[in-house]
Homo-oligomer: 327 residues x 2
């Protein structure tokens, strides 16, 4: 039986990775790794071990759920042990030697790995899964996106901030610079000289790589919202051909990983509470942008669970593909 | 001393209108009107009277803060009594005989009233005040807007829903079809055959009238968010000329009703909690849209208090202009 280690097993994403492996009955033996602080913790019947240079001996696959700096520290140990790593940090995503994979879109890229496969940014995965069938149908030149991102994107500390603040508890903020309860914060990540944040660049940079579209343009605004764990995205799609709403619904109905939720007259549309703890991305509010005289612009609203499809589920799907190929 | 009646004085907007009149020390005598149910209630030292056909006798100005159907019922009574009405409902906004006014933008339109002046939609006021100086500087052809609207937009019932749900109280929803706590609802108003909601049409329809720009194009997505009383808007501005961020900041610094909050490196940007109970609209996250090869597109983030500048403050500013003209 193949042996899988989860590095960063005590975080929100790490815990979800274990849950996803169990739900899917993957025939693997799992080892949980985390910092010394978490050593001995028991998660779902497994004892957490301290991540050391020897942790990866005898391990076949690693699911990485650590911050960039921590990931960069243990990655050489995993590589030396011959593991294949599916890494959720952003440290290696744009590395030419590292495939960046959303299995519904570019599973074939997995074949070209050199020991590391990167899991994309959560908002990017959710947007791309929601829009991939539309891109195939109408072509896609440019996206204008406003993300409304859940606090879980900042990990368990983000969730704690929102919970504490709603309860009115006077404790220091752990994840966000400002109160997030009853508020919105239009900053996720640091800003560059153009006034664009790191998170805002990811959808263009990672989208180009995943879709193999080096010319794709994405104007992105990222906003943190007081929602627990699902991201929502309001997306304008400038396409190559004229768009058609009925056809858009048809292709989305067939799309892997997507649930069409688009009957606004009957109050059917995607909402982050409904995608919470769901693997699928919900797409709805599909309409033609009447302000484009050429009729080539489509407007959609997309929601997806940031911890599941935006992180853990996607990584475990990649692991699943690796296991299939290894058979 | 001129006599002012507030119709719908017990709602969130009506109460704020009284507060704004008092803050500004307007030299008027105020009368509070509401439905029979609220008769006898005391608000800020004034006893609420029942709104009847005789209520407007001897009244000079009416501030309307009622729903459309209620407004249509009492409007003939106010007109027969010779009152000038500043009305916050949407019933008369697009009527050719009714000026639709944001005092910072088109105060001169007040002169052409025939007894009714309409107060625009809250999101429209906030967007237009935030963007007017940019429009003057760069010209404006098209806006792509995602609004994130506070629960107060649905009145006191909207606020009650969020408060009850956060407390975990198992009471029926009063304002929204779904839970709004920890959720987003991409519906405000009913949808038409294009899948566009009434609220989403308002920014184009009202924006054209206020700005005297019959060709203005607005693609709008309206989302309800778990914020108490300030709306936020992520706005893409397609301009007529090349845009310049430094110049944008300069003109916004001079703009009436605007506070520039744009130093993202130092975590200065507009947030709805900061505009709560403020009359000014905050503008920030100003950047050039690098995905427009012509360099004519600007991206901004705008917040404003929906009950104040989005409704009561704007109406009371119009009243103030009327009083000045009557001197």
């Amino acid at each position: 039986m193949k042996k899988v280690a989860i590095a960063g097993a005590t975080g929100a994403v790490g815990r979800q990775m274990l849950e996803c492996i169990r739900e899917r009955n993957l025939p693997v033996e799992v080892k949980l790794l985390a910092s010394a602080r978490s050593k001995g913790k028991v998660i779902d019947g497994l004892v957490v071990e301290e991540l050391t240079p020897d942790s990866f001996q005898g391990v076949d696959y690693v699911l990485g759920a650590c911050e960039n700096d921590v990931t960069k520290r243990w990655m050489p140990w995993a590589q030396e042990a011959g593991c294949v790593v599916v890494d959720n940090s952003s440290a290696f995503r744009l590395d030419d030697n590292v495939p960046l994979v959303v299995p519904e879109i570019n599973a074939d890229d997995i074949d070209h790995h050199n020991g590391i496969i990167a899991n994309p940014n959560c908002s990017t995965i959710i947007a791309l899964v929601g829009c991939d069938a539309l891109k195939k149908e109408f072509g896609l030149k440019r996206m204008i996106v406003t993300t409304m991102q859940a606090v879980s994107g900042a990990g368990v500390k983000g969730i704690a901030d929102l919970e504490n603040q709603v309860k009115g508890e006077d404790v220091p903020f752990q994840a966000f610079p400002y109160q997030i309860a009853y508020n919105l914060i239009p900053q996720i990540g640091d800003f560059d000289e153009f006034g664009i944040s790191k998170e805002e660049w990811k959808m263009q940079n990672e989208g180009r790589k995943i879709w193999h579209e080096p010319e794709l343009l994405v104007n992105c605004t990222c906003v943190r919202v007081p929602v627990m764990r699902s991201h929502s995205e309001s997306i304008t799609l400038e396409c190559e051909t004229e768009v058609d709403v009925a056809r858009a619904r048809e292709v989305l109905k067939q799309a892997a990983g997507v649930q069409l939720k688009d009957d606004p007259q009957n109050r059917v549309y995607p909402m982050p509470l409904d995608t919470t703890d769901q693997d699928d991305v919900f797409v709805g509010r599909i309409r033609k942008d009447l302000t484009d005289p050429e009729g080539k612009t489509l407007q959609v609203f997309v929601c997806g669970d940031q911890i599941r499809k935006g992180a853990a589920t996607n990584a475990v799907q990649i692991l699943e593909k690796l296991l299939e190929k290894a058979e």
